[in-house]
């Protein structure tokens, strides 16, 4: 076996990410500048400064992740999932977790607030990539699939308990996408989707404020001073932005939208850069999605493919959900706009995720043996085609073996 020749990381994926993050820092400045000073921080630059620090740390993480072999992440799959679940549990412990506005989502560490649900999203993708790749087409059997869905379900429930329905929805949607790409049967996918819909409906009916949000989504001006306030002002921002926008820093609705530098930051962008600016934003996300999926598509390893596709889809889904919320295309669920919205945990986790995709793009030529999957597949084939394939040794993810097993695929 020859050592794999490393490729250059995917250029356009990196470009899209860098442009989005830089635009994000500018938008955080733009949206928060006028009001940061009187939010008690006394510093107009408060949010920008922090966002720049998050971005720098995030890019450091991105480059480190990019330089590491994708299979090295795989070794940390179980520990990442474990840590995520522990942290999600800790959020709910009074004295450790911090709640803001009735939602316990943060663990304060010094001047920063860690948001475990952001880490959990990445953990779920890593976990599913690992398990789906390892099990291979065996995932088409419900018996093999279900235990993994239970793990995802546990994470989703913990996120939901914060409550953070938006992030939970991202987890569920990403899981669905990964199941689909991993080759889960269509009827199982449909059953999964129906189950998700039912669960979602039950959650909405159970919590009055969620029902309120759905009704508001259907008619934003219904409760202007309550649940409709944000969305009404977001829509007004979009409308006043029009085709060309008011120009940078000229936005008005950021004086109305609470915390305009967070989830609703897209509204400020739409107001100031107009529809054209939004097309550029969408273009960047499309470029990001396209390149990310291409990386997944070109890989010769199911693990690397699923990892790249999972992370790309997670980012892309979250972007779509975020824009859908402030265009009143779906009920309000608070998810940040990836790379753009203010928030350290989200930005750093996303950038590390992008680093993983870039790492995959550097190892497109390598194959990874999935002994269990191959055993299942060969049995399947033998039954079908009467041919036998001998399975290799059990997959044990140690660094040495990973490197040994990686070989050039011709």
């Amino acid at each position: 076996m020859k050592a794999a020749r490393k490729l250059q990381p995917d250029f356009w994926l990196l470009v899209a990410t860098v442009v989005l993050v830089v635009a994000g820092v500018l938008m955080v400045f733009d949206a928060s500048f006028a009001r940061a000073a009187d939010r008690g921080m006394g510093d107009s630059w408060y949010f920008v400064k922090r966002q720049i620090v998050f971005a720098l740390v995030g890019f450091l993480g991105l480059f480190l992740a990019m330089r590491v072999h994708p299979l090295a992440f795989r070794r940390f799959t179980k520990i990442t999932v474990f840590v995520s679940i522990i942290l999600l549990g800790l959020v709910m412990v009074p004295g450790i977790g911090k709640s803001i506005g009735g939602a316990a989502r943060w663990i304060p560490i010094g001047p920063f607030h860690l948001q475990p649900s952001e880490l959990a999203k990445l953990a779920v993708v890593m976990y599913l990539a690992d398990q789906f790749a390892a099990r291979g087409t065996a995932m088409r059997r419900l018996g093999t699939l279900l235990p993994h869905l239970l793990v995802v379900g546990l994470v989703a429930m913990l996120v939901l308990a914060e409550p953070d329905m938006g992030t939970a929805a991202v987890v569920i949607f990403t899981t669905g996408v990964m199941m689909y790409v991993a080759g889960v049967r269509k009827r199982q996918l449909i059953a999964f989707a129906l189950l998700g819909l039912l669960g979602g409906a039950a959650l909405i009916v159970m919590e009055p404020y969620r029902l309120e949000r759905v009704l508001t989504f259907l008619n934003p001006s219904r409760d202007y001073y309550g649940s409709g306030y944000q969305i009404t002002h977001a829509l007004m921002a979009l409308a006043t932005g029009g085709l060309r926008g008011l120009g940078l820093c000229e936005g008005r609705e950021k004086f109305y939208i609470p915390a305009p530098q967070t989830d609703m930051i897209g509204a400020t962008l739409a107001e100031e850069a107009g529809f054209i600016g939004m097309l550029v934003l969408l273009g960047l996300f499309i470029l990001f999605t396209y390149r990310g999926l291409c990386v997944g598509h070109r890989t010769k390893s199911t693990y690397m493919g699923l990892l790249a596709i999972g992370i790309t889809s997670m980012v892309s889904l979250q972007a779509l959900m975020n824009i859908a919320v402030f265009t009143s295309s779906m009920p309000a669920t608070g998810v940040p706009l990836p790379f753009i919205s203010y928030g350290g945990s989200c930005l750093m986790v996303m950038l590390v995720g992008v680093g993983m995709v870039l790492s995959v793009s550097r190892h497109l030529n390598e194959t990874v043996e999935e002994p269990e999957a191959e055993k299942y597949e060969s049995r399947h084939h033998r039954r079908r085609h009467g041919r036998t394939r001998i399975s290799r040794a059990q997959y044990r993810p140690t660094a040495k073996r990973i490197r040994r097993r990686a070989s050039v695929y011709r």
């Binding site: 087409t137 996408v177 004086f255 529809f275 939004m278 824009i323 265009t327």
Partner: protein
Amino acid sequence: MVLRHLRFLKRRTVWLLVTFAVLYVLIAGRLFYIQVLNNERYCELAERLRVRQLEIPASRGSVYDRVGRELATNVPAFAVYVQPKKIKDRERVAPQLASLTGLEESAVVRAINTGGTFAYVGRQLPVGVSDKVQEANLPAVGVLRETKRVYPSRSLCAHVLGFTDIDGRGLEGIERVANKQLAGRNGHIVAEIDSNGRVIPETRRGSVQPVDGNDVVLTIDAYLQHAAEDALAKSFESHSAAGATAVVLDPHTGEILALANCPTFDPNDRRGVQPGAWRNRAVTDLYEPGSTLKLLTVAAGLEEGIPPTEVIATCTNGGIPIGRRRIRCSLHHPYMAGHGGVDMFKIIRHSCNIGAASIALRLGPDKLYAYEKAFGLQDQPGSGMPGEAPVLPLGSPEAWPAIRLANIGFGQGVAVSALQMASAYAVIANGGNLMSPQIIREVRAKDGTVVRSFSPKLVRRVVSEETARKATEMLIGCVNEGTGKTSKIDGYSVAGKTGSAQKASTTGRGYAAGKFVASFMGFVPARNPRLVICVVVDEPKGTHWGATVAAPVYKEIAQKAMWYLKVPPDEPLKEDQTSGSNRMNVRKVNHRIGAGNTG
């Protein structure tokens, strides 16, 4: 090799990409629809919510006395408001806001509970409070600039000045009648506001500058006003009176130099003030003038050619019969047996009812009525102060029975205001002219240019100068030798007449036992009058004589005024001590006015 699994992955990734593409196109379409195709509705809504016309209140004009002492002005103040609909955490905001503003928590809760989009928590709060509220930066709580009307000299001249409501609209007094002049015109700016109602920088679209209100200069002299209030309050308190009024006029111009009422109030803080204390009794209240009216009857007699030294009647303690009734004099030492044969001098000097009644009977109803009217007793004085009492008509004189004619002759059955009586005495003081009483001297713009000035207004000539001179001599006699001795001032000739009228009973018939109106009016210096002073004390307890209740007030005002106006004495001084002690008092009073002005 995981060939089959990888094939699945590759094929489905393509479909995934297609799905994402579709979603992005849908979202782009949605954005296009909201931002470009159908943006009017939300654009309009945004305009409506954002663009506001914000009032810039005009500064209300100040009120000055005749020499420029500030009587009413404005200081900056702040209002704290809440936007109840936006408040989510009522339990937290209310106590916080209460402790910041120092207002009662219940008041804050009441404001929040209105549930509307705007409610005042507190008005006219000092600058310090607004700073604290702004620093705390509570959600849905805001601060507005406003002005507070202040009267630096507290209760000084309160009845003339009146007061404004919390929004600066004049409710009483000069504040009310001159409201248009004082108010000015509010300006406004059109600008975009943020969710806390503050103007977003650089969004101003247009503005109209406010036009500040004009200043009003009164004819009042704050020093004389203070002297009048001081002297009046002493008598009012020591006699536990129901009310009291003092009017000081310039007899030549009709300008009101001082106008004091008791009880009084502080227009800066009207809480707990009895409604009656607001009343400007000098113009709103009518009273029966009693003996002070005899001067007018005598003047009418003189004008109609009755010789002043002719003995008109003989006064005995049995009185004289008129019809089925008798009229009497109230007699005391040394006239226990009656005033005897009385001429006009004696009628005024000793306040002889029978003599005055006899003149009235000699003149007849038509002539007497004509003079009452000529002296202005049947017209509202038209001073420019609000609330002048409507005239109580005397009825047609042809229908007067003899007893009514006689009664009117000595001041019974007539109702007048203190201001009317002061104006009538000014006729004698100035040589026969009725001047319209005047309270506003001029209206000035903020830059000092005179917008409107009011000149003295002659209503009519009532009696000849000769008549006025003779009447004056009679009044001097009253002070020097008659009932008015208590008003004598060392160094000055004083003209004056006492009055003590029993009050009409509230039932409408007859007179109320023990309820009197004591009055004293006249002018100084008698032969070259500078001031007409009219003092009326309503329902004094203990003693009810004009000479004991009202004349000392008259004397004190006159004395201080003579000193203040630097009027040279026209009679030899008897004691130097009195004037010295007066000077001391004057300095003290002056100091008090000065101190008030700085506030």
